[in-house]
């Protein structure tokens, strides 16, 4: 569904990704894990057009993503839940959700999608008129994911959805990801909670210093001695 091949990207003169290739098949959940500064967020940003690539190719269902203007990428079915949630803090929850439906082609399905998100997160319905910035971290994460789901994407890419949350809430976030998968959505997720994320995804890539070091199925990686040593402190 989503295929990256030999992608190079960075900021100005600084290169953060070197020849990254990866693919996510329809219906799959794939994780990208790696240490701080490895380039995981950069990878997410280049997929959703927040930053341009230096070279390489990205295709979504055989259509070139790199040749599509950034604001039209969400229309191809790619929704990005950015690092640190990035809600519009001084707007209500419902206005935030509405922004997820901004593209004209999504607007006639607004009510239907809003109902879908409210069913998935009843808490958001209760908080619909609250300013997004005044909610708890867990609620904000729900809102950020809800906002991305408003466009009824084919693939949801999430950048560290569990970051900065209390352990109980982290648990809820992972349950949520399983529920989202249950809806038949394809998922690409960046996570630091390696052990937990490997339980909810099918495959994972290890990114280190801007290059893919390893890839494998979740079970393979969970059992790999290297991974256990590097990421799980065992």
């Amino acid at each position: 569904m989503l295929t990256l091949s030999q992608v190079n990207a960075g900021y100005g003169d600084f290169q953060a990704l070197f020849d990254v290739s990866l693919d996510v098949r329809s219906g799959e959940a794939v994780a990208v894990i790696g240490p701080n500064g490895a380039g995981k967020s950069t990878l997410m940003r280049v997929i959703s057009g927040m930053i341009p690539a230096f070279g390489g190719s990205i295709t979504m269902q055989d259509v070139s993503v790199l040749d599509t203007p950034a604001h039209q990428i969400v229309g191809m079915g790619i929704a990005h839940v950015p690092e640190n949630r990035r809600l519009f803090a001084r707007m209500t929850v419902e206005d935030n959700l509405r922004m997820g439906c901004f593209s004209p082609q999504f607007r006639d399905r607004y009510t239907e999608r809003l109902e879908f998100v409210y069913q998935l997160f009843p808490r958001m319905r209760e908080r619909r008129d609250q300013m997004a910035g005044t909610m708890s971290g867990g609620e904000q994460q729900m809102c950020a994911i809800g906002r991305a789901l408003m466009s009824d994407p084919k693939i949801l890419i999430m950048d560290e959805p569990s970051a900065g949350l209390a352990p109980v809430i982290v648990q809820q976030v992972f349950e949520l990801i399983e529920r989202i998968r249950g809806e038949g959505l394809t998922v690409l997720i960046v996570e630091q909670n390696v052990k937990q994320v490997l339980k909810v995804v099918d495959r994972a890539y290890i990114l280190e210093a801007g290059t893919i070091r390893m890839e494998g199925t979740a079970t393979e990686l969970l059992e790999s001695a290297d991974i256990q040593k590097a990421f799980m402190g065992m």
Binding site: S48, G49, M50, P69, A70, H71, Q72, I73, V74, G75, A79, H80, P82, R86, F88, A89, R90, M91, D95, R98, M99, G100, C101, F102, S103, F106, R107, S151
Partner: protein, 295 residues
């Protein structure tokens, strides 16, 4: 003291308050476009009043020299300032979006002198009067209210109302509120930030044109007219909390009442002095403006 209380309960004081309210309408309209552009693009158009000046000239020449009915001339004036708004954004601001704020100020400040100088070269320095007066509403023997000011008030209130509904109800309005909070992620929402900036600049320009039409009915146009109401427009925006349109609207009325009440007890110049003193005092107490949103 008795004199003071007499003055306070005089019918003329009521007239003063009403005139303050009406002047507030003009000031509110002036600050509206500037505030909108700042709220969205995050750049202050120092040359905003000069765009209004060019709108006034357009209306003047179309009406007085070409004999076009004043209402159509006003429409053309609005069209011209809308285009000017687009040009200011596309030719200048567009390249400075990520520049340091001081550079943005210098660039739009430079544009102020460019527009002022060009107007002087092209139109000369004489004062030109549109020669249209809407007359006054005679409330009683002693109280006359200018129709132009009443019209200003109604249009300013109407524009704020329309803008408010647009910003709170429509997708584009939501995007305009959102972009001022986080420009970087707008593409993720499917928003073309370039287009949204152009749209905002066009609306800002159109509001300048509307202000131009109403000012042309009350004041002579000349190349330096921007200097007489540009600074006060900025102060109103700052006092209301830059980018906060409702705050700017309220601040316009605080300013105008101070000016007219000061003018009632002393004379108009003292009214301005009073307003500026209150402004400076406000800045000491609340540097981010009276109605600034918490960040």
């Amino acid at each position: 003291m008795a004199e003071f209380t007499d003055a306070l309960f005089s019918i003329f004081f009521v007239e003063t308050l009403i005139n303050g309210l009406l002047l507030g309408g003009v000031l509110a309209l002036l600050s509206l476009g500037l505030n909108l552009v700042f709220g969205v693009v995050d750049v202050v158009w120092i040359c905003y009043a000069e765009i209004i000046m060019l709108g006034m000239y357009t209306i003047y020449f179309l009406h007085v020299d070409a004999g076009i009915p004043v209402i159509i001339a006003a429409g053309c004036g609005i069209a011209v300032t809308t285009i000017l708004g687009l040009l200011v954004h596309r030719i200048v601001i567009h390249y400075l979006l990520d520049a340091a704020p001081i550079n943005q100020l210098l660039a739009t400040g430079g544009l102020l002198f460019f527009l002022q100088g060009s107007a002087m070269v092209a139109f000369g320095i004489e004062f030109r009067n549109l020669g249209v007066s809407l007359g006054s509403l005679i409330v009683s023997e002693d109280i006359y209210l200018s129709w132009t000011r009443i019209l200003c008030f109604v249009l300013a209130a109407g524009s704020v109302g329309v803008l408010y509904v647009f910003l709170s109800r429509s997708y584009l309005g939501a995007a305009i509120r959102a972009i001022s909070q986080d420009r970087e992620i707008m593409p993720l929402m499917g928003v073309d930030t370039k287009k949204l900036y152009l749209l905002t600049s066009a609306i800002g320009g159109a509001l300048a044109g509307l202000a131009a039409a109403l000012l042309a009915l009350q004041y002579d146009v000349h190349p330096f007219i921007g200097l007489s109401f540009g600074p006060i427009t900025f102060m109103i925006c700052v006092m209301g909390g830059l980018g906060n349109m409702v705050g700017g609207f309220l601040a316009a009325f605080i300013f105008s009442e101070l000016i007219t009440i000061g003018g009632y007890f002393a004379d108009l110049e003292w009214g301005y002095v009073l307003a500026f003193v209150v402004f400076i005092a406000t800045m000491f107490v609340r540097p981010e403006g009276l109605f600034a949103r918490k960040s």
